[in-house]
């Protein structure tokens, strides 16, 4: 292998920089400019209500934000939301995938129905849950509770975060199911039969054969869901608006409050930078885990 090729500059005698340039340029414009602007604003005194006060703020925005209890509450809420939704969708998705893999009458229709929530846009599904499912007066859940003699519950004021977790899980469960169902279909029947010959019952087969087979697909589900769950916004905006208090304010929603309710672009940008750091910390663990699984 010649030296220039190893360095990646020429392949087959062609200088490749000019060929890569359009893609690289696009990526730079797309990613680096917003990132740079966010970092820049985070060090600025920049409030839309006080146009004259613009100027370099040093670390003031960060100090303000880091000493604000709302930030730590929002971080906790973000992690709780991501963690619970992941747990529910992965466990539920795996069990449903095993269920929908069984042969039963109407399986095709059942599969489509189970996957359909994923096609409903977040705003709409949040509205449906808010007005038709969890509404204390005319919601389905209230009706069900009353029909067995229990008092109706106002979900969004008594269990705000739980309600959000339920809504988001309902939306993402089909995604997990879809990925895991396709993965489970590639499980070799012979392996299952060999395990049956070896004396494994359904539960032993699930833990010893099916689950190890799904490991890779599960890590892909976790990775993709995590990316989207860190930024859940519409469901919160439509249902609780981050409340009551800060009970359902996650990091994305906190940044929205700072930027577009408080008009404080500087602090909001600082929040954005913190969100990037948090996402990167999560990503480091995640990428390692996924990479390890994909290697096997």
């Amino acid at each position: 292998m010649n030296k220039t090729r190893a360095s990646g500059r020429t392949v087959g005698g062609l200088r490749t920089l000019s060929l890569q340039a359009p893609a690289v340029t696009l990526l730079l414009l797309w990613m680096l400019i917003p990132l740079a602007m966010t970092v820049w604003f985070s060090f600025q005194r920049y409030n839309l209500l006080m146009p004259g006060m613009k100027g370099f703020a040093g670390t003031e925005n960060y100090e303000y934000l880091l000493t604000d209890p709302a930030l730590w509450s929002a971080m906790g809420t973000t992690l709780l939301l991501v963690g619970w939704v992941l747990a529910i969708t992965v466990v539920g998705g795996t069990l449903l995938a095993v269920l929908f893999q069984q042969d039963f009458f109407g399986r095709g229709v059942a599969r489509v129905l189970a996957i359909s929530p994923f096609f409903v846009m977040p705003t709409v599904s949040a509205l449906v849950w808010k007005n038709m499912m969890m509404h204390p007066a005319n919601g389905v859940l209230a009706w069900m509770a009353e029909s067995v003699g229990l008092p109706a519950m106002d979900w969004f004021s008594s269990l705000p975060l739980t309600s959000i977790i339920i809504i988001v899980s309902w939306q993402w469960l089909p995604f997990a199911l879809l990925i895991l169902l396709t993965a489970i279909q590639s499980l070799d029947d012979d392996q299952v039969e060999a395990a049956r010959m070896d004396g494994a019952g359904p539960i032993a087969i699930f833990f010893n054969i099916t689950l190890p087979h799904l490991k890779r697909a599960i890590s892909v589900v976790i990775m993709i869901e995590m990316i989207f769950l860190l930024t859940v916004f519409a469901e919160i905006f439509v249902t609780t608006s981050g409340g009551p208090g800060l009970a359902t304010t996650n990091l994305a929603y906190l940044i929205y409050i700072r930027a577009l309710l408080d008009f404080d672009v500087g602090t909001a940008s600082a929040g954005g930078v913190i969100a990037i750091i948090l996402a990167n910390i999560v990503a480091i663990f995640l990428v390692r885990m996924v990479a390890k699984n994909l290697e096997d």
Partner: protein, 380 residues
């Protein structure tokens, strides 16, 4: 070890019957091969014995116990799959020890049994590897090892060698035969390859369309096929079939008129056969010999020289007849040749494809490898 009996076993999928009433008896320590073209039901029959497929009617009896309602694990059998079906996330050792782990055996006992099986199969250096780091032959051996570890009463093999290349297949064939000697186990083996069947079996079961066509030792099937299907399926190259007519038929032989007009007397039981009846003469390629005064003749279309032997494909009355002759013949494509056969090598089939029984039984027809073993055991 164990015996197996099938009594009128039937398998239906909705309205198609894929196994149509099979009766079979497998003796202790016997190596039985199910052979037949694809779709003949041989794998289904094996899976029914294994318990992976339910039995529609009839009895499957292992060691005098009816096992129809027992699950696969409770029947005490082990199966080697065509795809090996190794557990990809487990090491070789865990693969082999999985059944013991499920049975609740402790780690030391497990390791001991796995090591014992690994020794028999020379797998010791591979115990810590995962299946994907093994070659095809090694995976095959691990699959066999997984079966051995369970110490089953009967081993079941579902086309275990068909994923291997030709050289490895020959080697594994010998290894399996050796293993059968060493373990003194009852084995049932499914294959579509009649060479595997001929070389390994004590008893061959030829299946077609869910029906047993014939059961017998390899030499019995070769020398005394019961019908035209078995005659054509066993033996390579395939047996030649010629339309002939009966001149006279009696209990001590049938005189037939060959396509060229000559007559010859084949020593088969001819009672019930009418003079003038249309019959089919079957002669194996290796039993046709070149003879300048022979009654049959044709033009050579293709010559395949294998060195030691040469196959001549001769066109006779628009049919291609195969001759296996000496490797040193100097014929060329297009030559006219005459050939003949020993009358006792001829098989006659009636209009319904059933064979007329030979008057003399071939001396090797009842020979099985079990007899060899009995003899060597007696000497020892």
């Amino acid at each position: 070890m164990a015996t197996l009996q099938l009594n009128n076993v039937v398998k239906s999928f909705e309205d198609t019957q894929v196994i149509q009433g099979v009766d079979l008896e497998v003796k202790d320590q016997e190596f039985v091969v199910f052979v037949g073209p694809s779709g003949c039901g041989k794998s289904t029959l094996l899976r029914m014995i294994a318990g992976l497929e339910s039995t529609t009617s009839g009895d499957i009896v292992i060691e005098n116990q009816r096992v129809n309602d027992l699950g696969p694990a409770e029947r005490g059998l082990a199966m080697v799959f065509q795809s090996y079906a190794l557990y990809p996330h487990m090491t070789v050792e865990d693969n082999m020890g999985f059944s013991l782990k499920l049975a609740g055996e402790n780690k030391e006992a497990r390791r001991e049994k796995v090591l014992e099986a690994a020794r028999i199969l020379q797998l010791e250096p591979l115990l810590d590897r995962k299946p994907k780091a093994l070659s095809g032959g090694q995976r095959q051996r691990v699959a066999i090892g997984r079966a051995i570890v369970r110490n089953p009463s009967i081993f079941l093999f579902d086309e275990p060698l068909s994923n291997l290349d030709a050289a490895l297949r020959v080697q594994m064939r010998i290894e399996l035969a050796r293993l059968h000697e060493e373990l003194k186990a009852t084995m049932i083996y499914v294959t579509h390859d009649q060479i595997e069947a001929m070389t390994m079996a004590d008893k061959i079961v030829v299946l077609q369309g869910g029906v047993v066509e014939q059961v017998g030792s390899p030499m019995e099937l070769y020398h005394h096929p019961r019908n035209r299907f078995v005659a054509g399926f066993i033996g390579s190259p395939k047996m030649n079939f010629l339309p002939v007519s009966a001149e006279s038929a009696a209990a001590d032989g049938v005189t037939i008129r060959l396509p060229g007009g000559d007559t010859t007397r084949v020593p088969v039981q001819g009672t019930g056969c009418q003079p003038g009846e249309a019959l089919t003469l079957g002669v194996r390629p290796e039993h046709l010999v070149l003879d300048e005064t022979g009654p049959l003749q044709g033009r050579i279309q293709v010559i395949e020289r294998l060195g030691g032997q040469t196959s001549l494909y001769v066109e006779m009355d628009d049919e291609l007849i195969t001759l296996m002759v000496d490797g040193d013949v100097t014929h060329r494509v297009g030559d006219e040749v005459r050939f003949t056969f020993e009358p006792r090598r001829g098989h006659l089939f009636t209009g319904d494809d059933m064979a007329l029984e030979s008057l003399e039984r071939h001396p090797l027809a009842s020979l099985t490898r079990l007899d060899h073993r009995a003899a060597s055991d007696a000497e020892a």
